[in-house]
């Protein structure tokens, strides 16, 4: 993740905070909540791709499973949202751990297909389980008071709650990536045999980041269930996993903010084009193709690259480290 100067970082963060606080008065809070949920889901996929080099096709299983469990806990179990969300997230982490035990030991397309297979299995199980209500989905999940005290009925209140939770998720990713563990992950991703020879337990590291990624995806799903009060089988399909991937690549794979920018664009697009359902697929396809062919680093990635090129004034040779990265 790129580092800007401390002053610029501070200014950016203050601006971001201000934007977050003002946003719900400018745009529909519900719309913003949707963006944040998908941003977190995409960020969880991004974490796995960027830091473990593992492309998962199955993150919908964490997202959807947590959504169902959280929704059910609130609607039928009478739980208040915070504990229900924790429950859903823990379930996602458990599924992550179980599937990861096999998935992590495979590489490349084999890893991706194993995640897809598990995802299909979870979908299948959910389709046949009573409590998911099959094709109808889980409807009318009530908005209970947070911790029994804070009223979340209004979309505005819900918005701030989601900002806090999703923000915490992103903060976790940020801290993880900049920690010593993050460095180990980078070493394993870049050159696993060497990392192993240095004594790092690559498989264990990958499993840990996989489970964290699963938990974050679950967190996104759980929040979605509470905020939108509806959970459907679509949340468990590979279409959802595919959308998360699209958001990642559009925003920029190796960046922290990429998923946010990508989510803003993709969710906005699906809303604007809601009446042109068939066009959405075409446009998303075109976006995929254009981004992969021309803007590989994604919006945020290309922006950072542009900043770096400006920092190196014309006429000066790029320092060797910069040149290496090109």
């Amino acid at each position: 993740m790129k580092n800007l100067s401390t002053v610029s970082t501070r200014i950016l963060m203050a601006a971001a905070l201000a934007a977050l606080l003002a946003a719900p008065f400018v745009a529909y809070p519900r719309f913003l909540v949707e963006i944040m949920c998908f941003a977190l889901l995409a960020a969880s996929v991004n974490l796995l791709v960027s830091y473990a080099g593992l492309l998962s096709f199955g993150h919908a299983m964490f997202f959807g499973a947590a959504a169902y469990v959280t929704g059910h806990a609130v609607k039928v179990g009478g739980m208040e949202p915070a504990s229900a969300i924790v429950l859903g997230t823990l379930l996602a982490a458990l599924i992550g751990w179980l599937t990861g035990l096999l998935a992590i030991r495979r590489r490349g397309i084999y890893f991706s297909m194993v995640t897809l297979a598990f995802s299909q299995l979870v979908y299948f199980v959910a389709l046949h389980m009573e409590f998911t209500k099959g094709e109808d989905g889980l409807q009318d999940v009530p908005r209970r008071a947070l911790l029994g005290v804070v009223d979340l009925d209004s979309n505005l209140a819900m918005y701030f709650f989601v900002v806090a939770v999703v923000g915490a998720g992103f903060l976790l990713i940020y801290r993880l990536v900049n920690s010593p563990f993050g460095q180990v992950l980078k070493a394993v991703r870049d050159h696993e045999p060497r990392a192993v020879s240095l004594g790092f337990r690559a498989t264990r590291c990958k499993l840990i980041v996989y489970v964290i990624s699963a938990a974050l995806a679950g967190l996104a799903g759980a929040v979605k269930a509470v905020a939108f009060q509806v959970v459907t089988l679509t949340d468990l399909t590979w279409v959802t996993s595919g959308e998360a991937l699209l958001i990642c690549i559009l925003g920029g794979i190796h960046t922290l903010l990429g998923p946010v920018v990508g989510a803003i664009i993709i969710v906005s697009m699906s809303h604007y084009l809601a009446s042109f359902a068939e066009w959405v697929l075409i446009i998303q396809g075109v976006v995929f193709v254009v981004v992969v062919m021309l803007f590989r680093k994604g919006i945020v990635g290309e922006f950072y690259a542009w900043l770096e090129r400006r920092a190196a004034k014309p006429g000066t040779a790029l320092p060797a480290a910069q040149a290496q990265k090109e």
Binding site: L55, R106, L116, Q120, G242, F288
Partner: protein, 294 residues
Amino acid sequence: MSSLLEISISSFLGQLMIGLINGSFYALMSLGLSIIFGLLHVVNFAHGALFMLGAFVAWGLLEYAGIGYWPALLIAPLIVAGIGLLIERLLLRRLYGLDQVYSLLLTFGLAMLIEGVFRLKFGASGQPYPSPIKAGLELEMAFIPGYRIWVIVASLAICLTIWFVIERTKLGSYLRAANENAPLVRTFGINVPRILMLTYGLGVGLAGLSGVMAAPIYQVNPLMGNSMIVVVFAVVVIGGMGSLIGSIIAGFGLGVLEGLTKLFLPEAAGIVIFIAMIVVLAFRPFGLFGQDPR
């Protein structure tokens, strides 16, 4: 005797046929995928969409030009292969030096694009396509449509022919050598970039061919590639990405497995292939016949 397991012989035969039919398409499609992956190292997500394209081209030929099944069997795959040549030449080729993720995402995007275009024009509904063979095999317990026999026999023949050409002929030796060490093969004066392009065309041509053959059986609709692609990928992975014989065996085998599972455990038919994949990958990291690429 026939009621021993409360399953009649005719329904057994029926499901076996369905299994073999599906298996035929799985084998043809995964053969194409394996060929493309083996040489280009590209996971071609556009395969399902090109299968659907092949079916629509056949339908279009009939609807707008009065061209029937048998000529379409030749023309449609060529058209799809031609589109494949363009895709490789203009788009895929530029991604070869990069991480595999990018070519995967490109073909995924192309799949969405192609499906989107057809959904726009045709919605999600299907267009019927008449079966070219009306006669069939009249057995005591069942009637087996002649067309289905044709599909199974033709698919098997095509698969084995392609396997033979690649593994046992000089043309195939170019492909096999390029698989192992493309730069060295180029120093011999062999135009490997052109071979890559033609290989992609061949791979997707097989998908197009499957589409034509599938047209009289399933309805020709924009979603037909969607449901197929996920299963086909499972088949390729089980057989081993890049292994031709693995694709053929896994394709037919899993088709039959799926068909027969429907007989004994109908609920599980939808995911038996995924369970098989998990089981296989747990013991053989690269599929049944696949090899460690390193």
